[in-house]
Amino acid sequence: MLTRCGSKHGGLVTATSQVTPVGKAAGTSSRPVVGSSSVGVFMRITRMALQYKLRLFIGLIAIFLASGFQLAIPMLIGSAVDAATGLEEGSLKIANSAVITLIDTTTDIFGEGSNPSKTALIIIAVLLFITSVGRGLSAMFQNYMGESIGQSIGYELRMLYYEKLQRLSFSYHAGVHTGDLITRGIVDVEGVRMFVQTALLRSVFLIVLIGTGMYLMLSEDLVLGLISLSFVPFVAWRATTARLKLRSNWYSLQERLSALTKVMDENLGGIRVVRSFASQDHEMKKFDEASNETLALANVQVGIRASNISLMGVAFMLSMAGVLWVGGLQVIDGELTLGELTQFLAFMSILLQPVRQIGMMINGYARGSATGGRLFQVLDIDPSIQDKPDAKDLEITNGTLEFHNVSFGYEEDHTLNGVSFKVEPGHTVGIVGPPGSGKSTIAHLVPRFYDPKKGHITIDGQDLRDVTLDSIRKAVGVVEQDTFLFTASVEHNVAYGDPWAPDDRVESASKHAQLGDYIDRLPGGYDTMVGERGVSLSGGQRQRLSIARSIMLKPQLIVFDDSTAAIDAATEQRIRAALTELTKDRATIIISHRLSSLMHADEILFIEEGKIVERGSHEELLTQGGHYNDLYELQIRPSEKWQQ
C-alpha cells in the first residue's frame, strides 16, 4: 500500500508545507472545510464502508423495516380511537382502510366476536404490540450495524494511520507538532467513526422515515397534513444552523480552553519562578482573563442551546395547536374522525425526533469531511525516505563507514557542506563544534534518517540509498541526546530494540552503561515502571538508559550524539572503560561539545558552519593551535588559564 497511497504529493517539501499550518493552529484549521475536497473525502469514507457488505445489507433492511413499523403505529393508534368510538350503523367507523383490511382478514380467520368494536380493539392492540416489538428489533439491528461498521472503519483507519506515522521520515516528524498528530489519530479517527455511525446509515433512515411519513400525512389530508408538517422545515433549519453555530463556537471554546490549559500548566511547571517573584497576583490575573474568556464562550454555547431547544419545542407545539384547531373544525363538520385526528397528532410526535436529528446528521457530515480530510492528508503523504523497490539488505563485511563529500540542508541553506571522513572498525572519530554547526546532522545521516543532498554515504562500500532501511538501522546504533522513555518497565525500555533479548543481555548492557546499580536500588528493580506514569529519571540516568538500549543491540556502528552531556565526567569515564570490549572491533562516532568525552578518539573533526575546519588527533590539533586548542584551554585547563 505504501506505493499505492501517495504519489499525489511529491517530495518532502510539499508534504511538510501542507501540514505545518495545521500544526501551528490546530484549532482553527479543524473548522468544517466545505469545498470540492469534502465530496472526495465523503466518497472515500463511503467506499471504506462498502467493504462491509453483509452488515450494510442487514442495516438497510432494518432501516426499511424500522420505518415501516414506526409509521404503522400512528395509524393503529388512530384506528384504536375510532374503534373505541363504537359502531355507526352497525359497522366500524375506522377511517384507515389498511387497518380495516387487516381486521377483516383476521376476523375471517378467527371468526367474529360478539362485539365487533371489542374484537377490533383487541386486534389493534395485538398489532400495536407486534409493531412495537418489530420497531424495537429493527432499530436494534439498524443501530448495531451502524455502530459496528463505524467501529471497524475506525479500527482500520487507526491501523493505517499508525503504520503511516511509523513510516514517515524524520523530516516530516520534525515539521509537525506532535500534539497535532496525536489529535488527528484520536479525535479525527473518532470523527470519521461517528460520521459512519450516525450520519451514513442514519441519514438513509431519516430520509426514508421522514419522506414516507410526510407522504402518508399529505395524502391523507392535504391541508391538515401541511399544517402538521409546518414545524418540519423550521425545526430542520433551526437544528442545522444551531448545530453548525455550536460547532464553530465549540472550536473557539476549545482554543480558549487550551490557552487556559497553557496558563495553568506553565504556572504549575514554573511554580518556583512564580514564587520567587511573588507574582501570584499577576498569575491570578492571567488565569482570570483566560478563564473569563472561556466562560463568555461557554455562555454563548448555553444560550444557543437554550434558544434552540425551546424554539424547536414551541414550533412543534404550535403546529399541534394548528392541527387541533383545523382538525377539530373538520371533526365538528363530520369530515374527519377523531381517530384520524389522533393519527395526525401521533404522526407528529413520531416525526419530531427524526427531524431534530437532521441537525445532528448535517453536523456529522461537516465533521466527517473535516476530520476525514485531515486524516487522509496524512495517509496520502509519501515518506521521503523509503526502500528502493529492488533494495537488498546491507551486507556487513567489516563495518567501515564512509562519508563521501556529503552536503545536506533541511531547506535552502546547507547545514553540511562537502564533508568526507571514514571510520574503520575499532576506530573512533570524535566530532566537535559550536551548536548549529551540523554535528547532529551527521548523526542523523548515518542511520539514513535523512538522505544527503549531495555526495553519498557508504557502509562497507554500499550506498545507504540502495539497501533496506531495516538492515541499516539494525547495523547502526545511534544514542540520542534526548532519550524518550516509554511507559514500561526499565527492563522493557532497555530491551526496546530487541524485546526478545534474554535477561542477561539486558542486565549486562545496563551494567556497562553504569545503570545497573541504580536499577538494583529501585523498588521493583528491573520491573520498576518508568516514563510518564512511572518513576522519573534524571537527565543523566535517562542518557545512561539510552546508552544501555543501544549497546544491548551490539550494533556494528555506534554513534553517540551528545549522549553524555548530562552524565558527570567520572561516570562517563567508567562507561567508556566498560565499552572498550564492545567497541574494539566496531566503528564509533562520538559527537560532543565536552572535550573530555572525545579527546581519546583516533581522529577528531572540528566542524564549523557545516564544514570540517580542523582534523587530526588530540595532540595534533593542540599543536595546530586553532579552534580546538581554544576550546581545550577554556574547558579543560581553566585553573592554569586563570592564574596567568
Binding site: M140, R272, P447, L553
Partner: protein, 630 residues
C-alpha cells in the same frame, strides 16, 4: 481495496514488551453515587447563586407542569369540544387558546431552565477551578515538589468538568423525577384503574434496567479503558518516533498496536450490543402499555365509563414516560463520577498552607540587602536534617558563592532566603528582619531568584522580561536586555521583543533562555539576588556571554550563588564550602587555597565543575583535608 496493512501480524507477543498502557479496569473506581460530604461542600459553591438557582427550579417546575398539561388539554378538546355529535366551535376555540397559553409557558420555562442551569453550571465550574488554582498558588513548595503537574492538571480540568456535568445532570434529574411523578399523577387522576394497569410496565422496566446496568456499565467502561489505551499507545509512538525508527521497532509496535486496537474494537462492539439491547426491551414495554390502553381503555370507552379523550391522553403519555426512566438510570454514572471527582478536588483544596503571613507581618519598603543565617537547622523529612546548625552572614553588596558536592545543602540554603520552606530551628534574616516576620510579597520584591533551568512562559520576549514587575517600562526592559547582552540576539529575531516564544521558549537556545531569565531578574530590581548557576555545558561563546551578564547582574546587589563554574567561584567575594549540611570552610579563593582544606583539594583536581567530581574522589579529599587539619 485502496488500503491494506503492511504485513500480516505474527500474533507473537515479545516477552519484553508492554501491552498495557493507560488505566486498567481496576484503576477506574466503582465508587459510591452519593457522598454527603462532597455534596455538602459542593452546595457551598452553589449557594453563591441562590437566587438564580431558585429561578431555575421554578422554571423546571413550570416546564414540567405545562408539559403534563398539554396532553390533558388535548383530552379536553376531544371530550368537550369534539364529542360525538355535539361539536362546539367556541369550546374548541377556547381550548386551542388555552393550549396556546400552555405552549407559551412551556416555551419560556424551557428557555430559562436551559439557560440558567447551563450558566450556573459554567460559573461554578470556573469558581471551583479558580479556588483550586488559587490554593495551589499558596500551598507549600514541598507539596508541589512531590506532586506531578499532570495529576494536578487532570484535577483542574477533568474533575472539574465531571462536577459541572453533575450539576447539570442533577437539575435535570430532578426535573425528570418531577415529570415522572407528574405523568403518573395525571394518569391516575384521569382514570386510576387504567392508570395503574398501564403503569405496571414501569417497575418491569426499572427491574430490567437495574439488572442490565452493572453489566452494561462494565462493558462501557471497558470500551472506554481500551480506547484510552489505544490513544496512549498512539501518542507514545508519536512522541518516541525517533527511538522507534532508530531501533526498527516498527513491526513489533505495529503488532502490539494491533492487539490493543483489536481489543478496543471487540470491547466497543460489545458495549454497543449492550446499548442497543435496550431498544427492543423499551419498545416491547411501550407496546405492552399501548395494548393495555387500547384494550382496557377502549373497552371502558365502549362501556361509557371513560371518555375517549382519556384514552387519547393515555396514548400520548405512554410515549413519554419511558424517557425519564431511561435518563435517570443513565444519570447514575454521572453521579458516581462526580463523587470521585469531588473527592479529588477537595483533596487539593484541603492541602494545608504551611507558609502564611503572620497577622502582623510587616512589609518594609526598603531593606539593606544583608542576609544572615543563625543556627539554622532544616530538612524536608522529619529527623533527616539537610542543613545542620548553619551560621553565616552576607553583607550588603557582597557576592557569596556556595560550593560543595551534590547533596551538601546548597539549594536548600538558597530556598530558605526566600522562605520557600520554614526552618526547624534558628532564624534566617533578610535585611535584618526574620523572614517569618515580613510578608511573602515583600520577600518577593526584595529577593530575586534565578533558577538553574531558565523557565520561560509563552508570550512575547517583552512579556517574559517584564514579567510581573509593575510600573516597568519598555526602556527598562531594553536596558536590562542590553545589560545582559541579550539585546543583540533579540533584535535579530523576526519580531524583536515582540517575538512569540514557543512552549518553554523552545525556539531559543539554552544560553539565550538563560540570558532572558537574567534580564527578568534585572527588571525585577531586587536588593538580593539568589542564583543557581546552570550546570549544563553550553558552547564557549555563550558561556562567555553568560559570565559577563552575571557580572552585570550582580552589580550593586547582594548575591548568593550556587556556583558550578570555576570562573564564577573565583570571582566571588567569599566562598562558603558546604558538605553534608554543614559549613566546612569559608573565605575567598586565595585564602581557601592557602588553607589547604577540602576546597583546595577539590580545586586542584582540575574538574570543570565541582559537581563533576566523583564521590570517591570527594571522599578521599575529605579524608585528606581532615587529616591535615588535625
Amino acid at each position: 481495496m485502496t488500503d491494506r496493512h503492511i504485513h500480516e501480524r505474527s500474533h507473537e507477543i515479545p516477552p519484553k514488551a508492554s501491552i498495557k498502557l493507560g488505566p486498567t479496569l481496576d484503576e477506574e473506581v466503582f465508587g459510591e453515587a452519593f457522598n454527603g460530604q462532597v455534596v455538602g461542600r459542593f452546595m457551598k459553591y452553589i449557594a453563591a447563586y441562590k437566587v438564580l438557582l431558585w429561578v431555575a427550579i421554578t422554571a423546571v417546575g413550570v416546564f414540567t407542569v405545562s408539559s403534563i398539561t398539554i396532553p390533558l388539554i388535548v383530552k379536553n378538546v376531544f371530550d368537550d369540544a369534539l364529542k360525538d355529535g355535539a361539536g362546539d366551535r367556541s369550546k374548541l376555540a377556547t381550548m386551542v387558546v388555552v393550549f396556546l397559553v400552555a405552549v407559551g409557558f412551556n416555551f419560556v420555562a424551557n428557555y430559562f431552565q436551559e439557560l440558567i442551569v447551563g450558566r450556573i453550571a459554567e460559573r461554578i465550574l470556573i469558581d471551583m477551578r479558580r479556588a483550586m488554582y488559587e490554593h495551589l498558588q499558596r500551598v507549600s513548595l514541598s507539596f508541589m515538589d512531590k506532586t506531578e503537574i499532570g495529576k494536578l492538571m487532570s484535577r483542574l480540568q477533568g474533575d472539574v468538568a465531571a462536577l459541572q456535568e453533575f450539576l447539570q445532570t442533577a437539575v435535570f434529574a430532578i426535573g425528570d423525577i418531577v415529570l415522572l411523578i407528574g405523568i403518573i399523577g395525571a394518569m391516575i387522576w384521569l382514570d386510576w384503574r387504567l392508570g395503574l394497569m398501564t403503569l405496571t410496565v414501569v417497575p418491569i422496566l426499572l427491574i430490567i434496567r437495574i439488572i442490565w446496568l452493572p453489566y452494561a456499565r462494565q462493558s462501557f467502561l471497558r470500551a472506554r479503558v481500551t480506547s484510552s489505551i489505544v490513544s496512549g499507545a498512539l501518542a507514545e509512538n508519536i512522541n518516541g518516533i525517533r527511538a522507534v525508527q532508530g531501533m526498527s521497532r516498527e513491526y513489533v509496535n505495529y503488532d502490539l498496536f494491533d492487539i490493543r486496537a483489536t481489543d478496543n474494537l471487540k470491547a466497543a462492539n460489545k458495549a454497543s450490543k449492550f446499548g442497543v439491547m435496550m431498544l427492543p426491551i423499551v419498545d416491547t414495554l411501550t407496546g405492552t402499555a399501548m395494548a393495555i390502553v387500547v384494550i382496557i381503555g377502549g373497552f371502558f370507552v365502549l362501556g361509557g365509563t371513560v371518555e375517549l379523550g382519556v384514552m387519547v391522553a393515555f396514548v400520548l403519555f405512554v410515549q413519554r414516560f419511558f424517557d425519564p426512566i431511561r435518563a435517570l438510570t443513565m444519570h447514575y454514572n454521572v453521579l458516581q463520577r462526580a463523587m470521585a471527582s469531588g473527592e479529588r478536588i477537595f483533596e487539593v483544596i484541603d492541602v494545608p498552607v504551611d507558609i502564611k503571613n503572620k497577622p502582623n507581618a510587616i512589609h518594609p519598603e526598603e531593606i539593606d540587602g544583608s542576609i544572615s543565617f543563625e543556627n539554622v537547622t532544616f530538612g524536608y523529612v522529619e529527623n533527616q536534617p539537610i542543613l545542620k546548625d548553619i551560621n553565616f552572614e552576607v553583607k550588603p553588596g557582597e557576592t557569596v558563592a556556595l560550593v560543595g558536592p551534590t547533596g551538601s545543602g546548597k539549594t536548600s540554603t538558597t530556598a530558605l532566603v526566600h522562605r520557600f520552606y520554614d526552618i526547624w530551628e534558628g532564624s534566617v534574616k533578610v535585611g535584618g528582619h526574620d523572614v517569618r516576620d515580613v510578608t511573602q510579597e515583600s520577600l518577593g520584591e526584595h529577593v530575586s531568584m534565578v533558577l538553574q533551568e531558565p523557565f520561560l512562559f509563552s508570550g512575547t520576549i517583552f512579556e517574559n522580561i517584564i514579567y510581573a514587575k509593575e510600573g516597568a517600562t519598555r526602556e527598562d526592559v531594553v536596558a536590562a536586555a542590553q545589560a545582559v547582552g541579550a539585546h543583540e540576539f533579540i533584535m535579530k529575531l523576526p519580531d524583536g521583543y515582540e517575538t512569540e516564544l514557543e512552549q518553554r521558549g523552545g525556539n531559543l537556545s539554552l544560553g539565550q533562555r538563560q540570558l532572558l531569565s537574567f534580564a527578568r531578574a534585572i527588571v525585577a530590581d531586587s536588593k538580593i539576588l539568589v542564583l543557581d548557576e546552570a550546570t549544563a555545558s553550553i558552547d564557549s561563546y555563550t558561556e562567555m556571554l553568560i559570565q559577563q551578564a552575571l557580572e552585570r547582574l550582580m552589580e550593586g546587589r547582594t548575591g548568593m550563588v550556587i556556583a558550578h563554574r570555576l570562573a564564577t567561584i573565583r570571582g566571588a567575594d567569599r566562598i562558603i564550602v558546604l558538605q553534608d549540611g554543614r559549613i566546612v570552610e569559608q573565605g575567598n579563593h586565595d585564602e581557601l587555597m592557602a588553607n589547604g582544606g577540602l576546597y583546595s583539594r577539590l580545586y586542584s583536581m582540575n574538574y570543570a565543575s565541582f559537581d563533576d567530581i566523583p564521590d570517591e574522589l570527594i571522599a578521599q579529599a575529605t579524608k585528606a583535608a581532615r587529616e591535615s587539619s588535625t
